[in-house]
Each structure stands twice: as structure tokens, then as C-alpha cells.
């Protein structure tokens, strides 16, 4: 590259510089490529989880069916939950954050690009590792919550539980690393002039989410470690025969588990808070209130975990305390819904597919919130806990809340990521199938639960009034399935031959629309500078703002004769992740030699990582000509 100058690096560890081809993806440290990898992996895992859901719905279509055995059915709902929570929806939020947080704050990458790559590889390989259990004696069958003592060796001698524990333990390392990365990036690498209260709300949500991840994952990791020690090394944390109190697992799990709900939904809140203002052509209503409400939700999210345990006999005082904190968390959530309505109010609303997903989100999430208040009443929760009422509730909150929003986010940001606009007609057709299908699946499940259908049952008897609701629910999977297929067709078709999008197809408000579509690998030619919230919008529509707007694309610093430093790529994140995964197989199969060899290999990769040098080269976009 004529415009580039190489940076001297040590001879032993040369950082690769491929920009295309498979090797460029395996060694990439570019937040955009990793974001795309995250998003694609999430959708692959989501496809697997959908197949599992479909098998469950077929089995439950009629009473007393025996399409699949109870053991296989248990594996299906376990893997569906594990996949959706840990491998699909949460990484989807992280994937969007990977791609768009640096762009939105005017940075060129995350603070630690190789750590970011490591986070991705550990997550995706950890997820794949759990899925190999299907071919290695059976997947975990303990529910996504993995309650003790279902996980003890005496109750569950198969390897499925080990795959669950090691896979999620390992994935958790990646999630935690990426969360720290996001925090450092957001705090340190914002564009000049972008104070905290000028940050896009999506960035705010990812900052809060990352802090939640940092605090929520350690208890879960401890719990995983306890079970791993129990099963591999013979400790007695969760062995009731030795006097253990298995309720401990539930506390540790839900101290993580409830914040996890917000870890999933806050990025979705952020996305809605970006899309609704863009398509209403108005700023977000009550920006500081939205931010404060989310911080409050995040704090309170750590104080409500026992509302998942109202039926475990904690007693009336504890149940009252956790009931009240759960009610309180409903207040900021309600405030957010009103603020989104306030943003729409008085706007000039363009009904793009993205916006329609946002509106569907508001409806679905409101219903999920109302049932959330209901299950937060311990007296009534005693009836519906562990029933399909709860299944419906959390699918309304997380499926209808997060998933619908992320689908809208794909429509919103696809043009930025690929330079091509998704087909709106096909997108809207898919939208209607998905939304109608979703409600056909999950609304009847409220009633099935109230009619006495527990969750996680492989079959149910005829004659107690469950037939119709289950039939409707299964019927809905076909409708939603058509929608998801249309969505996939739309993405593939557009990717091959879509309409060119231009750099700013939606008249966007945030900085990612100030660069080209797709952005160059160094993100911005000139470091953007902002002097207000929604600075790009203010520049495009100066009549709407009181302060003197500046062009965030042009008002950068003085030309730096060194150009932009772009780091080289690296094999070490992938190699370190592989070492961890192979070592996990070694521990699962009690093969200490393999585990120790992998351990040493891991240490080698860390040394290689540390000593491979800065690498990379400097880019001079001015010399390459005007891009955007």
C-alpha cells in the first residue's frame, strides 16, 4: 500500500496483515469484522435454538405424543435456553456493540483489539463445544438454569452436564473480557467534545450492560467452578448425600441470572432509543431520564434475584423484600416506555421495517412487563412459577423485547455494515409473519400455564383443557418460521444484489452515519469532533439547534503527519482460545495429559501475544483521496 508505512516489529512473531480471505477473518482484530462474526454466529446459534424449539412444539402439539423421548426433550429445552441466552441474544447485543460503539463515539477500534478477538473466539468455540455434546453421549438435560442437585454425579452421570459447565464457564471468560474492553473504550476513547451526556443512548446502554456483566458473571463463574470441582475432583458443594444445601446454586445462579435479563434487554433498549428518534426525526424524549432509569434498572437488577425463588421456601419476610424490589424495578421500566411514546409523539414517523419492529417491541414488552409484575407477587407466583405462564412472560420480555428489536437493528444497520439496503417489502412481510407468529406461539402459553401446565414437561394428559392452547402455539411456530425464513432470504438476497445504500440512508443522528458504508477499516478519515448530542443531525439540520453546529466529519484535528496507526492482526487470540477449549475437553474426559499440555500451550500463546509487538502500519487517507 503506497500510502502506508510499516512499523518495525520483532522477527519471531510477525503480525499478519491479510485484509481479505479466510485468514483475514481468523486473525482479525478489527471491531467491525468481529462484530459481523458475533452477529453471524449469534444467528447461526439462533437457528439451532429455533430447530430445538420447533422439535419441542411438535412434541407438545397433541397430548400424550411420543415423538421424542423424555431425555431427548429435556436436552432440547436445555439447549434451547442455553443457546438463546448465552449464545444467541446476549452475543447479538455484544456484536452490535462491537461494530457500532467505536463508530458511535468516533473511535477507530475498541481499546484492546486482540482481547476483543479473544472474547469472540472463546465465546464461539465454547458454544460449539457445548453443541459437540450431542455427538458425544448426549447434550445437557438440566434446563438452562442447571439446578443442583440435577447436576450431581449421582443424579446425572453423563457428560452433558460437564459440557454445559465447561462451555458456559469458558464463554463467560470471553463475555467478561469484552465487557471490560467496552468499558475502557467508552470511558477513554470518545471523540473530542463527546461528554457522557452527549453519548448516543446505545453507547450508554452498552456501558451499563458491561458493568453489569463485570459484576454478574463472577458469582456464576464461582457456581460453575463448584460444580466442575464436584464432578471432576470429587468435592461436595452440591452433593445432598453428603449434607449439601443445593439451594446455594439457585442463589448464585440468579444473582447472575436476573442481571442477565437486563444484560440482554438493555442493548435492545439502546437500539430502540436510536431507531425511534431517527425515524420520528426527533431527539430522544427525556434523554437524561432514560439514562438514569437504565442505571436504576441496572442497580436494582442485582437486588431482585430471589423473585426466581419464591417457591423455594425462603419465608414471608424474604419474599416480601424481593417482591417489593421487583415492583420498584417496574417503575423505571414504565418510564422508559412512556419516553419512547413521547419521542414518537409529534414526530414525522416513517414506517420503515426497523420502526415497525420498535413498535412491536413496545407492545410486546409492555405485555411482558405486566405479566412481570404479576409473577413478582409471591402469592400468585406460587401458582404460575415454573409453568407456561412464566415461559410466556419471559419470551414476551426477552424474545419479543430483545429479539424483535435486534431484528429491527439488523434492518437499521445492515446498510452501514454492507453498503446495501435490505428489501423493505420483503422485510415487512417477514415482520408480519414473525410478529403474528410470535403472539400465536406465546399468547396461548399464558393460558396453558394458568390451566395447569408446568414448564419442561415432555407431554401432558388429554382432558384437562390444554389441547387448544398447545395446538395454537405449535401452529404459531409455522407462521413465525416462515417469517424467519423470509428474513434470512432478505439478508442473503440483499447481500448478493442489494440496492446501494449510500452513507446515510435514514438521515441518521449518530456518528456511524458520518463515515462511508461500509466504513473503511480505519473507520474515520478524520477523528470526528462533536459539540452537542446528535452532532451529525445538528450539522445536517442546523435550524434545529441553538448552538453553532460543526461538521463532525471535517472539523477534526490538524493533519497528523504520522497518519492513522492500524494495528496488525494476530493468531494468538484464536490460538489461546483453542488452548482453553482443548484443555476443557481434556478435563471433561479426565485426560490430565491433554489438559496439562493445553495449559502449557495456553501459557505459550500468552507469551507470544505479549511479545509479538505492535505491528501494523500507518494509513494516510488524505493521500488516498476523498472517501466519504
Amino acid at each position: 500500500m503506497a500510502a502506508s508505512t510499516n512499523v518495525a516489529q520483532p522477527a519471531l512473531f510477525v503480525r499478519p496483515t491479510w485484509r481479505t480471505g479466510l485468514r483475514s477473518w481468523l486473525t482479525t482484530v478489527d471491531h467491525k469484522k468481529l462484530g459481523i462474526l458475533y452477529i453471524l454466529s449469534s444467528f447461526v446459534f439462533m437457528g439451532l435454538a429455533s430447530i430445538e424449539a420447533f422439535i419441542m412444539r411438535l412434541q407438545l402439539m397433541r397430548p400424550g405424543q411420543q415423538l421424542v423421548s423424555p431425555d431427548f426433550f429435556n436436552q432440547m429445552f436445555t439447549m434451547h435456553g442455553v443457546t438463546m441466552v448465552f449464545l444467541a441474544i446476549m452475543p447479538l447485543g455484544i456484536g452490535f456493540a462491537n461494530y457500532f460503539v467505536p463508530l458511535m463515539i468516533g473511535a477507530r477500534d475498541l481499546a484492546f483489539p486482540r482481547l476483543n478477538a479473544f472474547g469472540y473466539w472463546v465465546y464461539s468455540l465454547g458454544g460449539l463445544m457445548i453443541y459437540t455434546s450431542f455427538f458425544l453421549g448426549g447434550a445437557p438435560d438440566i434446563g438452562w438454569t442447571g439446578y443442583a442437585p440435577n447436576t450431581s454425579l449421582s443424579a446425572n452421570p453423563g457428560l452433558g452436564v460437564d459440557f454445559y459447565m465447561y462451555g458456559l464457564f469458558v464463554s463467560g471468560i470471553g463475555t467478561t473480557a469484552t465487557a471490560m474492553n467496552l468499558i475502557v473504550t467508552i470511558i477513554n476513547m470518545r471523540a473530542p467534545g463527546m461528554t457522557f451526556m452527549r453519548m448516543p443512548v446505545f453507547v450508554w446502554m452498552m456501558l451499563i450492560t458491561s458493568f453489569m456483566i463485570i459484576f454478574a458473571f463472577p458469582p456464576l463463574t464461582v457456581a460453575f467452578l463448584q460444580v466442575i470441582l464436584d464432578r471432576t475432583f470429587g468435592t461436595l458443594f452440591y452433593v445432598p448425600e453428603a449434607g449439601a444445601l443445593p439451594i446455594l446454586w439457585q442463589h448464585l445462579f440468579w444473582i447472575f441470572g436476573h442481571p442477565e435479563v437486563y444484560i440482554i434487554i438493555l442493548p435492545a433498549f439502546g437500539l430502540v432509543s436510536e431507531m425511534i428518534p431517527t425515524f420520528s426525526r426527533k431527539p430522544l424524549f427525556g434523554y437524561p431520564v432514560m439514562v438514569l432509569a437504565s442505571i436504576l434498572i441496572a442497580f436494582m437488577g442485582f437486588a431482585v434475584w430471589s423473585h426466581h425463588m419464591f417457591t423455594t421456601g425462603l419465608g414471608p419476610v424474604v419474599n416480601t423484600a424481593f417482591s417489593l424490589t421487583s415492583f420498584i424495578i417496574g417503575i423505571p421500566t414504565g418510564v422508559k416506555i412512556f419516553n419512547w411514546l413521547g419521542t414518537l409523539w409529534g414526530g414525522n414517523i416513517r414506517f420503515t421495517t426497523s420502526l415497525m419492529y420498535c413498535l412491536a417491541f413496545i407492545v410486546t414488552f409492555t405485555l411482558g412487563g405486566i405479566t412481570g409484575i404479576m409473577v413478582a407477587m409471591p402469592t400468585f407466583d406460587a401458582q404460575v412459577h415454573d409453568t407456561y405462564f412464566v415461559v410466556a412472560h419471559f419470551h414476551y420480555a426477552m424474545g419479543g423485547g430483545a429479539l424483535l428489536t435486534f431484528l429491527g437493528g439488523v434492518h437499521y444497520w445492515f446498510p452501514k455494515m454492507t453498503g446495501k439496503l435490505l428489501d423493505e417489502r420483503l422485510g415487512k412481510a417477514a415482520f408480519w409473519f414473525i410478529v403474528i407468529g410470535f403472539h400465536t406461539i406465546f399468547f396461548p402459553q399464558h393460558l396453558a400455564g394458568l390451566m395447569g401446565m408446568p414448564r419442561r414437561i415432555q407431554t401432558y394428559p388429554a382432558g384437562i383443557g390444554l389441547e387448544l392452547w398447545n395446538l395454537m402455539s405449535t401452529f404459531g411456530t409455522f407462521i413465525m418460521g416462515i417469517g424467519l425464513v423470509l428474513f434470512a432470504i432478505n439478508v442473503i438476497k440483499t447481500f448478493r444484489s442489494g440496492k446501494p445504500a449510500g452513507n446515510d440512508p435514514w438521515d441518521g443522528r449518530t456518528l456511524e452515519w458520518a463515515t462511508s458504508s461500509p466504513p473503511p477499516y480505519y473507520d474515520f478519515d478524520v477523528q470526528p469532533v462533536v459539540n452537542s448530542i446528535d452532532a451529525l443531525w445538528a450539522y445536517k439540520h442546523p435550524e434545529t439547534l441553538h448552538v453553532e453546529p460543526i461538521d463532525p466529519r471535517k472539523a477534526g484535528r490538524e493533519y497528523d503527519p504520522h497518519g492513522i496507526h492500524v494495528p496488525g492482526q494476530s493468531w494468538y487470540p484464536l490460538l489461546a482460545s483453542l488452548a482453553i477449549i482443548v484443555g476443557s475437553y481434556g478435563l471433561i474426559y479426565d485426560n490430565l495429559v491433554l489438559a496439562i499440555v493445553s495449559g502449557f500451550f495456553f501459557i505459550f500463546t500468552i507469551f507470544g501475544w505479549a511479545f509479538e509487538g505492535v505491528g501494523g502500519h500507518h494509513v494516510h487517507p488524505e493521500l488516498e483521496g476523498e472517501r466519504a
Binding site: Q66, P70, D71, N74, D141, I142, G143, Y147, N150, A155, N156, P240, G243, A244, P246, I247, K282, P283, G286, P288, V289, T311, T312, G313, G315, P316, T320, L324, F327, G334, V335, G342, L344, G346, G347, I349, F351, L367, I370, I373, M377, T379, F380, D381, A382, Q383, H385, D386, L450, M451, G452, P454, R456, I457, Q458, Y460, P461, I464, G465, L545
Partner: protein, 368 residues
């Protein structure tokens, strides 16, 4: 355009039609409470449900208004007023949820202490120790010194205090028409109370994943008039020992019950005077003839069903742990299983009073 509106209204109308055509009352329905606990729990739900309707109407109404009023008209490229917020509105729509939450919280807290406080069981209460096993229920009555499995007999109108324990993994005792569930957790003493207001048979089910055949871990609660309940208790305290039967099938069944090894696991006080054999971690079969169901309430206890269950348990309840006693090609297996079934159904059968049917069919308050 007009047809478009009709098209959009159809799904809603269809749903209304479906909803109005079906009853939400069933054998396991929260909407058919038959005791004070379940009534209180349903009452709280109905209260919150009514409160939530205005919230849904408000959000839905505003949303529809916004969609209609502020949608982009073709060619309208104007930029609307750039409102950033409104403090008064924020205060108002923070206060409204606070008020709603208070309205819900007060009755909730009162009901928690009414329904979930620890009970010191008195003389007038019936105490039952419930132990969950994969995948059946043991019911012990310490006041009467009797034990049974999978069918919990209780007197109508009495408070029944259940001490919940587990013999292996987690389970949850849930009889929706009598009250909400509480988990059975190893090494932990949990408590639940229920009370049936009307005689009848109430359905129940394990509601906490216990692996394998979890879906088939069902039970019944049989609520009887106090005098019937007393007779039932006595039939267990002094079980009829029956060593000889005039029915040759029953006689053959008794022999096979020992020969095939049933007796090694299953206690049976009717088998011989003073000896019940069996082990406590397997279902006690004493007075099996009084049972309504077999296989932890999976099948009605008819001769055919019981025989099928004994002959091939996996066909009835996949994943359960009862051994299959005959090879699949054993020519005698049907006949022998039938003999054992006949024997089991004869145990205590002469003490059987009139069948208590489903309480639902008998038109209990809350039904329809």
C-alpha cells in the same frame, strides 16, 4: 384501504371468538380454586389483571394515536419540533407507576404473610410428610402412623400441613385447584398448607424439573368427608390381610407378587400378617385397591391399565425406573402381569366407598 382494515381486524376477532368459545376451567386450572389458598391466589391475580387493563389501554391507545396522527404523509419531508423532554411529564409518568405499584404492593404483602407464614401444626390440623422421589410421591401421616403413595387423602374443611422433603433431586408439589406450589429440596424442611372445601379428586403434578420422567410425576389429592377420611385412615392402620382368594387370578397374582420380586421393593401390608417387606424409597402398595390411578397418576387404575403398567412400564411412563420383569418374547407375560394387576386391585378393595369423582364434574364453586 377499507379491506385492509378488515384484514387487520380479523385476527383479533378470531381470537375473541376462540376465547369466548372455551372455558378456562379444568382439572388443573388456577381458575377453578377449591380452597382458601387457591382462592386468595386467584383473587390477587384478578385484582392485578383489572389494574393492568387501563395500563394496556393507555399504552395501546397512545401508540395507535401516534401511529395514525404522526405518520409520515407522502412527500412530507418536514422536520418536526425538536422536543427534548418535559420535566412535568416525566414527573407525572413516574408518579403513575409508583401509585400503581403501591396499589399492587399493599394487598400482595398482606397476602404473603397470610399464606406463607410458618405454621405450627395443631391438633386440628392434618399433618402429612410429603417426600418426592424420581418420579413418584410418598405421603406419610405421622399422626396416624400410615404411609401411602401418589394419592393424598385429606378431610374436607381441614387445614392440611405438608412437610415437604426430597429423597433425591428437586421437586415441587403443585395441586393448582388447592393452592400454589412449594419446592421439595434435599436437606431442607419446606412447608405448604392446603385445604379443600368440597369433596372430590384434585389433580396435581411435579412442577420442578427432576430429569427423566418429570412430566409423568403426577398425583391426586382426594378430599373426603371427615368420616370417610377416618375410615380410609383406619383401613391403613388395620389393613385387611388377604392370603387366600376365591378368585384364582388374584391368587396367582399374589404368588407372582412374591416370585417376580415385586415384594422386594414395594411394601404391602395386605400381603401377610405383621410383615410388609418392601423398602421405604419405593412406593408403598398397601390398599392399592383404593387407588384411582397407577404409575403416579399417569393412568386410571383399571385392570387393563395396571396390567399394562406392570408388563411394560416404559410404554406407559417413558424413563421411569420400574424394572421390566418379562422378556418381550415371554409368552406368559400378559397373563402374569394381568394376574398381578388383579391381585393389586383386590388389596383393600372391599373397603372402597362410593367413587369420589372429579370435583370439577360435580360442579364445585369456581367452576364455570
Amino acid at each position: 384501504m377499507r379491506i385492509g382494515w378488515l384484514w387487520r381486524a380479523l385476527p383479533g376477532a378470531a381470537l375473541m371468538f376462540v376465547l369466548s368459545g372455551c372455558s378456562l376451567v379444568g382439572e388443573q386450572s388456577v381458575f377453578a380454586p377449591a380452597g382458601p389458598l387457591a382462592s386468595e391466589q386467584l383473587g390477587l391475580f384478578m385484582y392485578t389483571w383489572r389494574l393492568s387493563i387501563p395500563v394496556m389501554l393507555l399504552v395501546g391507545g397512545v401508540l395507535v394515536y401516534v401511529i395514525v396522527r404522526y405518520r409520515n404523509r407522502r412527500g412530507d419531508d418536514s422536520i418536526p419540533g425538536q422536543t427534548h423532554g418535559n420535566v412535568l411529564l416525566e414527573v407525572v409518568w413516574t408518579t403513575i407507576p409508583v401509585l400503581i405499584v403501591i396499589l399492587i404492593a399493599v394487598p400482595t404483602v398482606r397476602s404473603i404473610f397470610r399464606t406463607q407464614s410458618f405454621i405450627e401444626a395443631g391438633e386440628e390440623d392434618v399433618v402429612v410428610t410429603v417426600t418426592g422421589y424420581q418420579w413418584w410421591w410418598k405421603f406419610e401421616y405421622p399422626q396416624y402412623g400410615i404411609t401411602t403413595a401418589n394419592e393424598l387423602h385429606v378431610p374436607v374443611g381441614a387445614r392440611v400441613v405438608l412437610d415437604l422433603e426430597s429423597g433425591d433431586v428437586l421437586h415441587a408439589f403443585w395441586a393448582p385447584r388447592l393452592g400454589g406450589k412449594v419446592d421439595l429440596i434435599p436437606n431442607q424442611d419446606n412447608q405448604l398448607w392446603i385445604q379443600a372445601d368440597e369433596p372430590g379428586v384434585y389433580y396435581g403434578q411435579c412442577a420442578e424439573l427432576c430429569l427423566g420422567a418429570h412430566a409423568y410425576m403426577r398425583f391426586r389429592v382426594v378430599a373426603e368427608e371427615p368420616e370417610d377420611f377416618q375410615r380410609w385412615v383406619e383401613s391403613f392402620q388395620q389393613p385387611v390381610v388377604q392370603t387366600v382368594s376365591s378368585d384364582p387370578l388374584v391368587q396367582q397374582g399374589r404368588t407372582l407378587f412374591a416370585q417376580k420380586g415385586c415384594i422386594g421393593c414395594h411394601a404391602n401390608d395386605n400381603y401377610a400378617e405383621g410383615i410388609s417387606y418392601g423398602q421405604p424409597q419405593y412406593p408403598n402398595l398397601t390398599n392399592f385397591g383404593l387407588r384411582y390411578t397407577v404409575g403416579a397418576a399417569v393412568l386410571d387404575a383399571t385392570l387393563d391399565n395396571v396390567a399394562q403398567w406392570i408388563m411394560d412400564p416404559q410404554s406407559v411412563k417413558p424413563g421411569n425406573r420400574m424394572p421390566t420383569l418379562w422378556a418381550a418374547d415371554d409368552p406368559n407375560r400378559e397373563e402374569e402381569a394381568r394376574a398381578i394387576a388383579a391381585y393389586l386391585l383386590s388389596l383393600g378393595a372391599e373397603q372402597r366407598t362410593a367413587d369420589a369423582g372429579s370435583a370439577l364434574a360435580m360442579g364445585v364453586p369456581g367452576g364455570n
